[in-house]
Amino acid sequence: MESTAIKENENPLRVGLRLEKTADPCTVIIFGASGDLTKRKLVPALYRLVQQRLLPAEFAIVGLARTEMSDDEFRSKMKEAVEQFSETKQVDPEVWDSFGQGVYYRSTDIGSTADFQKLGDLLDRIDRERGTGGNRLFYLSVAPRFYAQAVEQLGRAGLTKAKAGRWVRVIIEKPFGTNLESARLLNNQILQHLDELQIYRIDHYLGKETVQNLLAFRFANGIFEPLWNRQYIDHVQLTNAEAVGVEGRGGYYEGAGVVRDMIQNHVFQVLSLVAMEPPAHLGAEAVRDEKIKVMTAAREFTPERVKSDCVRGQYGSGSSGGKPVPGYREEEGVVSDSATETYAMLTMYFDNWRWAGVPFYLRSGKRLPKRVTEIAIQFREAPHQLFGAGIMEQVTPNQLIIRIQPDEGITLRFAAKVPGQITQIRDVNMDFRYGSSFGVQLAEAYERLLLDCILGDSTLYARKDMTERGWELVMPILEQWAENKREVPFPNYEAGTWGPAAANELIERRGRPWRRP
């Protein structure tokens, strides 16, 4: 029988409450509070966490941006944002007022030392008035060029140092650098004022339920892990597709491209969870140690490999969801002869005992037929075929598909006999869907990640070594593609299709078709 005995320092009333975690009193300070992320994601997520009683009453939010605004103006903007962007829709005025009392705004210039001194005074006042206890979470949701400066100013104002028994943490949004050099420089700059344990580099993909379920699926089940290696797995396909184009962010995207925007961060994070060894325990460092270990075993991209194992693409005009859409070069903010890739396929190998010789095919792109992120593990064929070729015509090797979005779930595909006098074998799917088996609404990724940071759990955040390794791996590809801009005639795929023909040819040459997600 499970004991209800109380451990030292444990809140005796918390025992047995089905509420998983509880947070310390704290203040969340958002840099870039007039931006889109604050109103679409951050404040709605914090409001929901409060409503779900996951944050204590001793909690406050301070919004910082250049725009001049009063506390009340900011509060009413945030109320509108919560109504517009969260499931809550209609916010009760009384409940909002109670929440809003803990919401503040200060017009702040990141270059002004005086503004940071004033911020320090405000935070001390909030600690006294609202009992937030000196715990502070700074969220950098500003343009990347301000990251280092913001941290430096916090450091100079003495705001990166926590009082005894309290904590100070900093969440940094993506992109983390634009290449290896800038990522290293940024890491060095922020580490002058912060300890690595205080830094939370956010990757919202890791906040998704299925990504977290990857750990449970692999390491809580006894039947999959024994098969999770080169002996039974033929190859792995990771698809990260978006149906949308650049959505008015052409200016940003021109300097980025899909490798910088998606692959070196999100796709590599997910990939490392698929390929890593079991961690010793579920502590943040143990999990992140294993992730970096497997990424260290990833085969480098030599010039030959970039040529033979990678494909780039850019969409031309076409149609999406039945309506005509322009090509990338016709998007706002994009130059007419742009060489930026909107699609990339990479073939990766992990040179270690588990994965030697098993290709991992990754593809990510914009304006593909639908929005989907999934990992398809393709197993080897049965070693000996009892059934004739005609009977097996409709059968593909076993596949395990882990869908991350939308419609999170897991599918196992296996062959079964079609009932009847004739022996005929067909593939059937065994589906597990989060929505149907648990029928619960999955938490928004930002809710989970913000709460984790407040709780001091950095498992789902990227560590310094991982961000740098991501860049290290993709730099040869980016450099070679930049040097040979005109090698591939862009656009080379029509909007609304599954990418350039070369990507299909590459995988098919190796006898493996792309799965249609």
Partner: protein, 380 residues
């Protein structure tokens, strides 16, 4: 809402009993029909996460139960066995039918289905109906028994079904004689021979209150004050069935505080008036006054407020209903200066949600059991 419900009558009689094999066969054929039906172009997914036995009586509103089970099935698809039992009828009767509950999975064209067997028993067959239920349980998934009635003591049917179940779900808010029934329930759970694992939907209704009360002491600065609590005031509205008794919810909450904080009941103080009941409790050398006060600001059987205060009122922690019971207000007050509070939406969960939450936990709930035992001591 179910997309489709298929129902098929079973040929049964009290003399022949239920033909288990035939029921299984009928369910199998319903599955294959569902899979080939024109409406299911993308196939049917059968999902089974549990067995749920529902004990109910003919007085219960069948359509209400049906609606509730539809919603529960969405979160916990599985096999539902409904037992409609008429103990007062003289004539022996045994009827049954099987049905499937399907719903469309968003955007996929796929249907997800659970299955249901309904058995109506009356008169002498009530004694033996358990033997028709147990072979119908799906193997390898947990069995929940939702006893939609006051738990019957020394009752063959209850005992047989309770033995099979991994967890029994009851609702102490529906007790006719709350004090007596709570005492009997506590005794039954304490019985080491029975090892019953019980969930109380009424305990689930306290979760918001317990969470908000507990969260005061998640704040490290307030933690030491928990040991100096010397007064607890619980305001409640008595249950409709027994206006002179303390509501089970109030007793469970008091039981929870006293079991978690190691308070021992010393005695009951002489009542000042019929609207309040006070108890002396001890925690080591310190004394705690526990006062139940009858209020009017909530629905019957509900709590209106809970206040915990330290010596001389130096600090107090309050959770109470606000705005006609649609919100909960919290307040932590330290001395004259420090006051932190907030107002939160009080989301009243539906009965289906509550049941679904209970079905997510198969093991024993020791915190509930201890709270019930302490709560029952107050009404000995």
């Amino acid at each position: 809402m179910p997309l489709e419900t298929q129902v098929s009558e079973l040929a049964v009689s009290p003399s022949k009993g239920l033909d288990i094999q035939r029921i299984e066969k009928q369910l199998t054929s319903m599955w294959s029909e569902a899979g080939t039906a024109e409406s299911s172009h993308s196939g049917v997914t059968r999902a089974c996460t549990l067995n749920l036995i529902v004990y109910t009586t003919p007085e219960d509103d069948a359509s209400e139960l049906d609606e509730l089970l539809n919603r529960v099935n969405e979160q916990h698809p599985g096999r539902t066995l409904i037992l409609i039992v008429d103990r007062d009828a003289k004539e022996a009767k045994l009827d049954g039918y099987v049905s499937t509950r399907c719903r469309l999975l968003g955007g996929t064209g796929k249907q997800i289905c659970g299955e249901q067997v309904t058995i109506e028993a009356s008169g002498p067959t009530v004694e033996t109906v358990a033997s028709a239920v147990t072979p119908l349980l799906v193997p390898d998934v947990p069995v929940y028994l939702w006893w939609k009635d006051i738990p019957h003591y020394q009752d063959k049917l209850f005992d047989r079904l309770a033995d099979t179940a991994d967890r029994i779900v009851i609702d102490s808010s529906a007790f006719d004689h709350p004090h007596e029934d709570l005492r009997r329930l506590a005794k039954m759970i304490e019985d080491p021979h029975r090892e019953l694992s019980v969930s109380d939907l009424n305990w689930g209704r306290l979760t918001s209150w317990r969470t908000l009360l507990a969260s005061f002491w998640d704040v490290p600065d307030y933690r030491p004050l928990l040991d100096s609590i010397d007064t607890v005031e619980i305001e409640y509205v008595p249950p409709q069935s027994a206006l002179g008794e303390i509501a089970p919810k109030a007793l469970l909450l008091a039981g929870w505080l006293s079991s978690r904080l190691n308070w021992v009941v010393v005695d009951k103080r002489a009542s000042k008036n019929e609207r309040s009941a006070e108890f002396n409790l001890k925690c080591g050398e310190s004394s705690v006054l526990l006062a139940f006060r009858r209020g009017q600001t909530a629905n019957t059987g509900m709590l209106s407020s809970v206040r915990l205060s330290t010596k001389y009122g130096a600090a107090s922690f309050y959770v109470g209903l606000h705005s006609g019971g649609t919100k909960l207000q919290t307040e932590a007050k330290l001395g004259a200066e420090h006051l932190v509070g907030r107002l939160l939406t009080y989301e009243r969960r539906s009965e289906a949600d509550r049941l679904s939450r209970e079905l997510a936990f198969p093991g024993r709930d020791l915190v509930y059991e201890e709270a019930l035992a302490r709560g029952a001591q107050l009404i000995l």
